[in-house]
């Protein structure tokens, strides 16, 4: 279990189980079911796009050791590789190839796999489509892990602050305003620098900054819900506090969490691109590809496919998420969210 790839596999399984669970829950609840149908009707294309990214990311997260060494890479046989790694094993060229080219881009030496690179290759001859697909996992990992860190903690602190009030609220509010007073980008940078470079570290850093948003929202909303008549009634009937939180507060927060999650997601992925430029991004992200491609664009003739591919992959994902995010907000809740921000 000490191997990272085993954890990665477990996470995939957990996600699939979780997805089935969520789907069932939605089916049971008439409101959610209607909302999701509405969403599908409104934004089918964007949803399909997001689903595609998800599938690629999940497929790339399943890894195992074994299989033959390919393309003269003797170390690979001892490393955990995903189906995507295996699919592209041995597609290595020596250097740049333009999309579908038959010969090398500079110098025109014959390629080992002519015409087999729909998006071309990078300077070390790695297939650009391969790098692009690998990037999907990184992007979703950033958004996903970050939210996984931020949302539960935010709920814990936000709800207890809003529900209990008093000293607890003061403490949570103090932490929130402290974190919020630091410029977000600087805070992320400071966290990554202190924690060290790496995927998890970047996610934690981004998680801390987005925690503030989630926390502020759930605190404010809990305040309001606490004063609602049905909560007051439940209390008067002697329902326990814990039960109130779980039966009345949390369910009523869920749609806000979904909306905030989707709206935060795109910001997280874009932030990672910025971190990549600063040299503290996540290995293999589209941000790093774009950063690298800056120089390639200046070549004569320019190597344009790396930048274009990574730029479009990033743009399409963010655009789809933004579009879906707006739609979800319209479907689930057109008003409350803004009041708390």
């Amino acid at each position: 279990m000490n191997e990272p790839w085993m954890i990665s596999n477990l996470v995939v399984v957990a996600m699939l189980v979780g997805a089935v669970g969520v789907a069932r829950a939605i089916r049971r609840d008439r409101l959610w079911l209607e909302a999701s149908r509405d969403l599908v009707r409104r934004r089918p294309v964007a949803l399909v796009v997001i689903a595609l990214y998800l599938v690629v990311a999940l497929v790339d997260s399943v890894r195992w050791v074994g299989g033959a060494a390919v393309g003269g890479d003797a170390v690979a046989a001892h490393e955990a590789r995903s189906p995507i790694d295996r699919l592209f094993a041995g597609s290595q060229e020596k250097s740049y190839s333009a999309p579908f080219a038959k010969v090398e881009f500079y110098g025109g030496a014959p390629l080992e796999h002519p015409g087999k690179h729909p998006l071309g290759t990078d300077v070390l001859g790695r297939d650009c489509l391969y790098l692009l697909l690998k990037g999907a996992r990184v992007a979703l990992l950033i958004g996903g892990v970050t939210s996984l860190i931020a949302i539960p903690l935010a709920l814990l602190f936000g709800v207890s602050a809003g529900f209990v009030g008093g000293k607890v609220d003061d403490a949570v509010f103090f932490v929130m305003s402290t974190l919020a007073s630091m410029p977000a980008l600087l805070l992320v940078i400071a966290l990554v620098m202190a924690l060290g470079r790496g995927t998890l570290q970047v996610c934690i850093a981004l998680g801390v900054t987005s925690w503030v948003n989630f926390c502020r929202m759930s605190r404010g909303e809990t305040f309001k819900l606490r004063e609602m008549e049905y909560v007051q009634a439940a209390r008067a009937l002697g329902v326990s506090e814990v039960r109130i939180v779980f039966r009345h507060i949390l369910p009523n927060l869920s749609h806000l969490i979904v909306i905030t999650f989707v709206l935060t997601f795109s910001g997280l992925v874009l932030s990672e691109a910025v971190l990549s430029f600063l040299g503290i991004g996540v290995q293999g992200s589209w941000g790093q590809m774009i950063d690298r491609a800056r120089d390639e664009l200046a070549r004569e003739p320019a190597v344009w496919w790396n930048l274009t591919a990574a730029g479009i992959a990033l743009l399409v994902l963010i655009l789809a998420v933004n579009v879906v995010g707006d739609a979800i907000r319209d479907v689930l809740d057109p008003r409350t969210l803004r009041e708390n921000q």
Partner: protein, 679 residues
């Protein structure tokens, strides 16, 4: 349209047109103020900010570009002659080794008369209102004492230690500082005076200084042409101490040379202007080798226009001001060169194919009047192994030696050069470049030929069959340390890593920033790394000492950052070092080479081939190879430059107009509706 709407629309239209007109009028990509047009200014870009311009500390190529212009030295290199030839600078003549009766060797430096420093406030220390003072021989002694001073942390202690009594001076100074805490607070020159002179540095009179050695060290003459051999006034060190609002001497050099620093914002802009106190400027009539343009060079110079009658015998310098701008990124810098805003440039890899075809300028570039100079630099690049490491170093014994050889057999220099340097470089078989004594074209290092099968066999012999480390059962993991965190740099090193993966070695890149990497080298915390050595002077000793134990980085702070140590190598090296270039020296070099081939502490990679471009308005350029700048010989023709810049940089304005029209087309209907409603 209502009258009001019409009035508004026409007002907005006028405003828009006015804004556009003023925009296109101010639109220029010229980064320099208009006042600089027509002046003899040389525009150069620098990438890294110089760390220090303290003459006794500064060592890097980056810094040499500045120190070489502001510090005069007793000797200099001839501008045109090759092989490299020394000429007298501040000295009247080139010192010759005099063998004294007691077996010692003396070099006598006789200075020119009337040498004075550039004007500087620090000279007030010697009397109120004083702006400068004459240079005396004692100032050079002071400079050498600074080299010796452990507090200055000079990288030149080692070569200067050949001078008699140098080490003893260091010991006396340290002992005195330890025993007497109040001593440390005194100004440096008083401290040095108190511990007494260096035995081998004798100030004969104000214009004469003797250097005395007890063993032959012919290389010392080259060091007299290095900026650390510039005289330093004690006032400068006492005044620029970082207190009372004075900068540190590392940021405020007091110069003797043809140029002096007038603006020093090292992160962005550095300006040098002609030093009016320079002896060449005050006494053009002396017509010394170092103050006028030379009349002879090597064959071919005349054809290249380097012996133009307009320049021969004319007093130096020609350019009145040197403007240096920091450009952190290659591509903007090169683009500015192509726009005419920098006078000279290297070629960035990204634009190579546009600029060069078949080793020559492309017709497109030639038409622009750009000139190309190529030269193989005496700069040697290698992949080193830290010999203090227990897996790849001395501690790993035979196992490690075979591992190093196996790794050497994987590295395809030609391919690497093609991918990352457009083939601008010569694969190296051994440390000595072709322009230097000791090079043998016939020599081929058997471990520098790519042979993966042989590499795998050697790896089996080393006890890592298929790259598997028996201790872990997994591919042997090593760290490739680099100070290059740029994406490009990572890719460049990834190339080596990919090659080693082919024989089953799992090598991970550990990229830190340059300073941290330096720190790692200093502490011996590295494992495998990419590094280079640029020659200080044209002598094989200056390359082969990279493996001398006494040059060990960790123990002695020398350039042997492999920390390689082999007594037999050291013994042969000492013999080779003391000899002039003869057959015996060649024989010794061959023996040294055999040892290196067997031990493989480094993977010889390549010698850099520099391609430098310049515009037609830059005159008198000859690539020097070593880092000495030679700027005082250079000239520019500002009229041609101004005209060309103007012709090349017409802003393309139609997209702006189109955009503006589009914008108006989209917004005007809206405004009209808005206004109509208003009625």
């Amino acid at each position: 349209m209502t009258p009001v709407a019409r009035r508004w629309t026409s007002a907005l239209g006028t405003l828009a047109i006015g804004a556009l007109a003023s925009f296109s009028a101010t639109c220029t990509n010229n980064p320099y103020p208009a006042a600089d047009q027509g002046r003899k200014v040389l525009y150069t870009a620098f990438e890294e900010a110089p760390k220090t311009l303290d003459p006794q500390v500064s060592y890097t190529t980056v810094e040499h570009a500045f120190t070489g212009n502001i510090f005069d030295t007793p000797l200099e290199y001839h501008f045109l002659k090759r092989p490299y030839t020394l000429i007298p600078g501040m000295a009247k003549s080139i010192p010759v080794a005099e063998h004294l009766p007691d077996g010692k060797i003396r070099y006598r430096i006789e200075f020119l008369p009337e040498l004075i420093y550039a004007d500087d406030p620090c000279f007030e220390l010697g009397g109120a209102g004083r702006k400068t003072r004459p240079m005396v021989a004692k100032d050079l002694e002071f400079a050498y004492m600074r080299v010796a001073d452990p507090k200055v942390v000079s990288p030149f202690v080692d070569p200067m230690s050949n001078v008699l009594g140098f080490k003893e001076f260091i010991e006396r100074l340290e002992a005195r500082r330890k025993s007497d805490p109040s001593f440390v607070t005194k100004p440096a020159h008083e401290q040095y005076a108190a511990v007494g002179p260096i035995e081998g540095i004798v100030v004969v009179d104000d214009a004469t200084l003797d250097l005395v050695l007890d063993h032959p060290y012919p290389q010392i003459l080259y060091w007299l042409a290095f900026p650390f051999s510039t005289p330093v006034p004690w006032e400068a060190v006492a005044y620029y101490n970082g207190k009372d609002g004075h900068p540190l001497i590392q940021d405020h050099p007091v110069s003797t040379g043809p140029y002096t620093i007038t603006h020093y914002d090292k992160q962005a802009r550095i300006v040098l202007e002609v030093n009016k106190n320079w002896y060449g400027y005050r006494h053009p009539e002396w017509k010394l080798p170092a103050t006028v343009y030379p009349s002879e060079g090597e064959p071919g110079d005349a054809e290249m226009g380097r012996l133009d009658a307009a320049y021969v015998g004319k007093p130096l310098p020609f350019v009145e001001r040197l403007e240096y701008r920091r450009e952190k990124e290659d591509i903007p810098r090169f683009n500015k060169f192509l726009q005419g805003y920098y006078d000279a440039s290297g070629i960035v890899k990204e634009s190579f194919d546009k600029v060069i075809a078949n080793g020559q300028l492309t017709p497109e570039m030639a038409e622009l009047g750009i000139r190309l100079e190529k030269t193989i630099e005496p700069a040697f690049y290698y992949l080193g192994f830290n010999m203090m490491d227990k897996t790849v170093g001395h501690g790993g014994g035979e196992k490690a030696r075979l591992l190093r050889q196996a790794m050497s057999l994987c590295v395809d220099t030609k391919e690497w050069l093609r991918l990352f340097l457009n083939g601008r470089g010569v694969p190296a078989e051994y440390m000595i470049p072709s322009s230097i004594f000791g090079y043998e074209a016939s020599y081929q290092n058997p471990y520098r030929k790519v042979d993966l099968d042989k590499a795998r066999a050697v790896l089996v012999e080393a006890g890592y069959p298929g790259g598997i480390d028996p201790a872990t059962g997994k591919p042997l993991r090593l760290t490739f340390d680099t100070g290059d965190t740029t994406v490009d740099g990572i890719l460049r090193n990834q190339f080596f890593v990919d090659e080693w993966r082919q024989i089953g070695l799992d090598i991970r890149i550990d990229a830190t920033n340059y300073n941290q990497f330096q720190e790692k080298l200093k502490k011996g915390a590295h494992q495998v790394y990419f590094w280079g050595w640029s020659a200080d002077y044209p002598d094989p000793e200056n390359f082969l000492f990279l493996l001398d134990t006494a040059q060990g980085r960790v123990k002695f702070g020398g350039p042997n950052d492999m920390n390689y140590s082999n007594p037999e190598y050291d013994r042969l090296f000492e013999l080779m070092k003391a000899r002039d270039n003869d057959d015996e020296r060649m024989r010794l070099i061959r023996e040294l080479r055999a040892i290196t081939e067997h031990d493989a502490p480094m993977i010889d990679l390549m010698f850099n081939e520099a391609y430098s471009l310049r515009h037609q308005w830059v005159k008198n350029v000859k690539p020097f190879g070593m880092s000495t700048p030679m700027t005082k010989y250079r000239d520019v023709e500002p009229e041609i430059r101004d005209a060309t810049r103007l012709a090349w940089n017409h802003p393309v304005m139609w997209p702006a107009y189109t955009l503006a029209i589009l914008g108006i087309a989209v917004t005007v209907p809206g405004i009209v509706t808005f206004l109509r409603e208003r009625q």
